[in-house]
């Protein structure tokens, strides 16, 4: 038993521990906090990379918390897909944290900066735990930590719009959490266990019951709100656009994906094949909602005037992509959904950070104000363009690969309507993204709009942006690093 078997739990607890220690450091040496906060996340990322290749294919790494054997103790369960998503989470949180140091000087008042880092670490740790846990109640707990820290982070600036958006988020998020809790209760009442693997086998034994159906529907609604699936997305555009940009990047790039992933796990690892008929009916409804999300999000994004709101609506649309991939119930569709979590995470985080760059340098939020931005902020604009290309799904970016598999999956499932919806979604994405690229690069802005800007944002903010946008390119070209194993893992899940 090598030391690496302990890595997953360290990946989760280090940021949480960091969050606990940060207030003390903030009390003693406030200036060190932004740097110290990097340490636990960097360590987690490192541990995550060290784990790569150690988990045998088709198998998983199971860690028993406190040495209690499941189903009695809490199990941390990391398989290939889980590790993949954990790495995405680590990388993006780390980059957005690097970005935060300079950015929050603009938006967050000095008294709240330590709190910002505390909440940030809490949220990162919770996301990692949420992805890795094999215990369904633990899943709920991590979800709540995640939700609480994100509510607070949306409101961190304390201005009226931010608090209002955060409150809206709470009003939708808290009931959804309770629904998940209730769903867990239902599952427990039928099976008497909370361990996911154990649940799966017991559900397979007991077969179809009404309680399971209700439980599953509650899960879908609960996670649907958190993942902002179409009719339940109302909180998203406000919260994602008003939060400080690094937080928007996390919310849009990770939180919704992680919640969608939780639903994938619930669907495929807990309810499994034996309950397909039970999952099937709900999945049809989810499919319809997702298709509506793709179109609604795209159309709303086109009509927006505020850059961050536009990006937020684009997220609504892309969540629809992910769910359409899941509801195809084919290995390709699921692979597409997983890969879309990666590339949407990278691209959307990059877009939000770029939007943050404009706010940081000029305070510009409106799309019209970006005319001719290229002259002053070439690096930001090029990164933005690259990430937008991935959002549209133009080769050779990662967005293209995921779109390929999403559509292939839907064709294999014979879902023609959804195939057309996905294609139109990418046309809509082209409309709203190319419009901005056009403003940035091919329109001359008012001279005075840009004259007092320094050349571009400081490197501390450019490096994360470029790392993310080059990431979309990298995973587009080197998709063979992940796609084959994702395909295998998806086939295994099904």
């Amino acid at each position: 038993m090598g030391a690496w078997r302990h890595f997953p739990i360290f990946m989760i607890t280090l940021p949480l521990l960091g969050a606990v220690l940060m207030p003390f450091l903030g009390y003693l040496r406030e200036r060190w906090v932004p740097y110290a906060a990097l340490l636990p996340l960097a360590a987690s990322t490192l541990l995550g990379f060290l784990l790569v290749g150690r988990i045998p294919a088709g198998d998983h790494l199971s860690y028993h918390l406190g040495g209690w054997e499941p189903p009695f103790g809490i199990e941390i369960r990391v398989d290939h897909v889980g590790l993949f998503l954990m790495l995405v989470v680590c990388a993006i949180t780390l980059l957005a944290l690097v970005y935060s140091r300079r950015y929050i000087e603009k938006e967050v008042s000095p008294g709240r900066r330590t709190a910002y880092y505390v909440l940030y670490l809490l949220m990162s740790g919770a996301m990692l735990g949420f992805t890795a846990t094999g215990d369904i109640f633990n899943l709920f707990v991590f979800m709540e930590i995640l939700a609480l820290s994100s509510y607070a982070l949306v409101a961190i600036t304390g201005n009226r719009n931010a608090v209002r958006a955060a409150f809206k988020y709470v009003l939708m998020g808290a009931p959804s959490s309770i629904m998940v809790l209730l769903a867990v209760g239902f599952l427990y009442s039928v099976t008497g266990t909370l361990n996911m693997a154990d649940l799966a086998s017991r559900i397979a034994e007991s077969g179809y019951t009404e309680v399971l159906v209700v439980s599953y529907i509650l899960f879908v609604i609960g996670f649907g709100v958190k993942a902002a699936l179409f009719p339940l997305h109302m909180w998203l555009p406000d919260a994602h656009s008003i939060a400080p940009s690094p937080i928007s990047a996390l919310l849009s790039g990770l939180l919704v994906e992680v919640c969608a992933f939780a639903l994938v796990r619930i669907t495929f690892s807990v309810f499994t094949r034996s309950a397909t008929d039970l999952v099937g009916g709900t999945a049809d409804a989810v499919g319809v909602a997702a298709a509506a999300a793709v179109l609604y999000g795209g159309i709303m994004a086109i009509t927006q005037k505020d850059l961050k709101v536009m990006i937020a609506y684009s997220t609504v649309s892309h969540i629809g992509y992910i769910f359409l991939g899941i509801t195809a119930f084919t290995a390709e569709g699921l692979t597409g959904a997983m890969y879309h979590m990666l590339d949407h995470g990278l691209a959307k985080a990059c877009l939000f950070l770029c939007a943050g760059n404009f706010i940081y340098l000029k305070g510009y939020r409106r799309i019209e104000e970006l005319r001719g931005a290229w002259r002053q902020m070439p690096w930001t604009c090029f990164a933005f363009a690259l990430a937008s290309i991935s959002v549209i799904g133009i080769p050779p970016t990662a967005g293209f690969i995921s779109k390929w598999y999403l559509i292939l999956g839907n064709i294999r499932a014979g879902k023609w309507l959804y195939t057309i919806v996905l294609l139109s979604g990418s046309i809509l994405a082209a409309v709203y993204c190319l419009r901005i690229i056009y403003y940035m690069f091919f329109q001359a802005g008012k001279e005075e709009a840009w004259e007092d800007a320094s050349r571009d944002v400081p490197p501390g903010m450019l490096v994360p942006v470029w790392a993310l946008s080059l990431g979309t390119l990298f995973f587009g070209v080197f998709s063979y690093l992940l796609i084959p194993s994702l395909l295998k893992a998806s086939a295994y899940l099904l």
């Binding site: 080769p395 690969i401 559509i407 292939l408 064709i411 190319l434 690069f441 091919f442 063979y480």
Partner: protein, 505 residues
């Protein structure tokens, strides 16, 4: 001939060489403007030179291949230089080289952006030519589509912007349709996206309806670039709006990328037998015929020279489609050879239009009285190409027409010959007036009873910068030379006949 396929990095180097221009732009300061521009041209030149060095191997039946990346085993990005790809790459690199040299003198603002995107587009479209499968083709094709947008709107006038917008609308829609076509192809082709000598799809794995769907989505996707008639809307706007070297390339190469895609689909994806079996070639032929005639009629009504040329391009590219749709040896030969022929002729014509625009500022044909005296070399070259377009021997245009006519007879559908004749007639109707106005009318001519006319003095050799004139002369010479010695090694016939003889033994 997969048995003689050898690994080689040359294809990759060929498509990377144009990026020299980008390095040059980054590496040299603004002061060394001339050096920078010449380095841009050098990238293109080197790319063409290296490509040309592959000729003996290609004629020997070799193919060169290199794998760039892959998603899964059956889905890979691979460059393969086969005869057809080499043929397309050769003409496009050649035309691109001339256009780049021409641009050095022609482009007068925002050099960096123009040359950077010229180089990128060349690289991408060479990638298209070398693609070993549809997946790779699509990737390069999409990048080329978006890379050529800055070329179209380079002037940044309102007209250019509107044209660019239209271009993007068409491109995005076409890209989406094409994307669907390729995914469907991948699905029903059992994961086989490669190009086979006789096609890879078959009715064994997929239903008729599925294959027909794939074919028509392909046709629609590529048809936008190839300007098949209901989908041609962006062409007449984009060509006049773009700077002349860019319009020469648009018409000479980028339109051909769509046509080349259709060639690949017909020859290497479906194969002629399957096309005949499905009966879809009829639709293709009808669309091509309509396009040929209607575009020529539209061309008649245009006064803007480049717009007229653009409509002419729409009609001419459909010759290629028509040639394919004949499903006969000579038809296919003529169609595929027309790829080069049209690129030479139309490239030259657009470059001439550019010289006229730069030297006299005249855009409209009605204003061009006496231009032939001001710009004699340019207008002579223009006339040569215009005559070639009508199909006058000895020129490349004549060869195309001859082969297509012969193909029509082979396919026992003489109706195509009528279409070709009508087209030639219409071509004459819209090209001859230009020549007439340029040489035999001069300003003040219209005023009755005005004894003195301003007949300009004929001056040779001083009309424009050499960088503008030399490419034009080279192209015009080639129009004739290739037309006479068509089967010289390396000229279209020698390459295309190898491909076509395999398909139609």
């Amino acid at each position: 001939m997969p048995d003689k396929s050898t690994f080689s990095v040359i294809p990759l180097i060929v498509i990377l060489l144009p990026w020299i221009s980008l390095l040059a732009i980054l590496a040299f300061p603004k002061k060394a403007e001339r050096l920078r521009l010449w380095l841009c041209a050098l990238g293109s030149l080197a790319s063409f030179g290296l490509l040309f060095s592959l000729l003996p191997g290609i004629l020997d039946g070799k193919t060169y291949t290199i794998k760039l990346a892959s998603v899964v085993e059956s889905l890979e990005m691979r460059l393969t230089v086969d005869t057809l790809g080499f043929y397309f790459a050769l003409i496009l690199a050649f035309l691109w080289m001339l256009a780049t040299i021409y641009s050095i003198s022609y482009i007068d603002h925002k050099h960096n952006r123009f040359f950077a995107f010229m180089a990128m587009c060349e690289s991408f479209i060479l990638g298209c030519a070398f693609s070993a499968n549809m997946f790779t083709y699509f990737i390069f094709y999409e990048m080329m589509t978006f890379g050529s947008y800055p070329l179209i709107i380079h002037e940044e006038t309102t007209i250019a912007r509107r044209a660019g917008y239209k271009y993007l609308v068409y491109a995005v829609a076409a890209g989406t349709v094409l994307f669907f076509a390729i995914v469907a192809h991948y699905f029903w082709g059992n994961g086989e996206l490669g190009f086979g000598s006789y096609g890879v799809l078959s009715l064994e794995f997929a239903s008729r309806a599925a294959l027909t769907t794939i074919f028509f989505t392909y046709l629609a996707g590529f048809g936008v670039k190839a300007a098949i008639m209901p989908l041609h809307g962006w062409v007449p706007d984009a060509h006049p709006a773009a700077p002349s070297p860019a319009s020469a390339l648009l018409s000479g190469v980028i339109l051909k990328a769509g046509a080349f895609g259709i060639i690949r689909v017909c020859f290497n994806v479906f194969g002629t037998d399957l096309l005949r079996e499905l009966g879809v070639y009829v639709v293709m032929a009808v669309l091509a015929c309509i396009t040929i005639v209607v575009a020529s009629v539209f061309a008649l009504t245009q006064d803007n020279l480049k717009r007229r040329l653009a409509y002419s391009s729409i009609g001419q590219v459909s010759y290629i489609i028509l040639g394919l749709a004949m499903l006969a040896h000579d038809g296919a030969l003529g169609g595929v050879m027309h790829l080069t022929h049209h690129a030479l002729m139309k490239g030259c014509l657009f470059l001439c239009a550019g010289v006229i625009l730069v030297k006299t500022g005249k855009k409209n044909i009605s204003e061009m009285a006496g231009v032939g005296y001001q710009l004699p070399i340019t207008m002579i070259c223009f006339s040569v190409c215009a005559l070639a377009m009508m199909g006058t021997p000895p020129s490349v245009g004549f060869i195309t027409k001859w082969l297509l006519g012969s193909g029509a007879l082979q396919a026992s559908l003489p109706v195509y010959i009528i279409i070709l004749l009508v087209s030639a007639l219409l071509n004459a109707a819209y090209f001859l007036p230009i020549i007439y106005i340029a040489f035999f009318r001069w300003e003040g001519d219209e005023v009755e009873g005005h004894g003195e006319t301003h007949r300009p003095k004929l001056v040779f050799g001083k009309e424009a910068d050499h960088k503008l004139v030399v490419p034009i002369v080279i192209l015009a010479l080639l129009v004739v030379v290739v037309g006479i010695w068509s089967n010289v090694t390396g000229f279209p016939y020698s390459l295309v006949s190898r491909v076509v003889n395999v398909i139609f033994p």
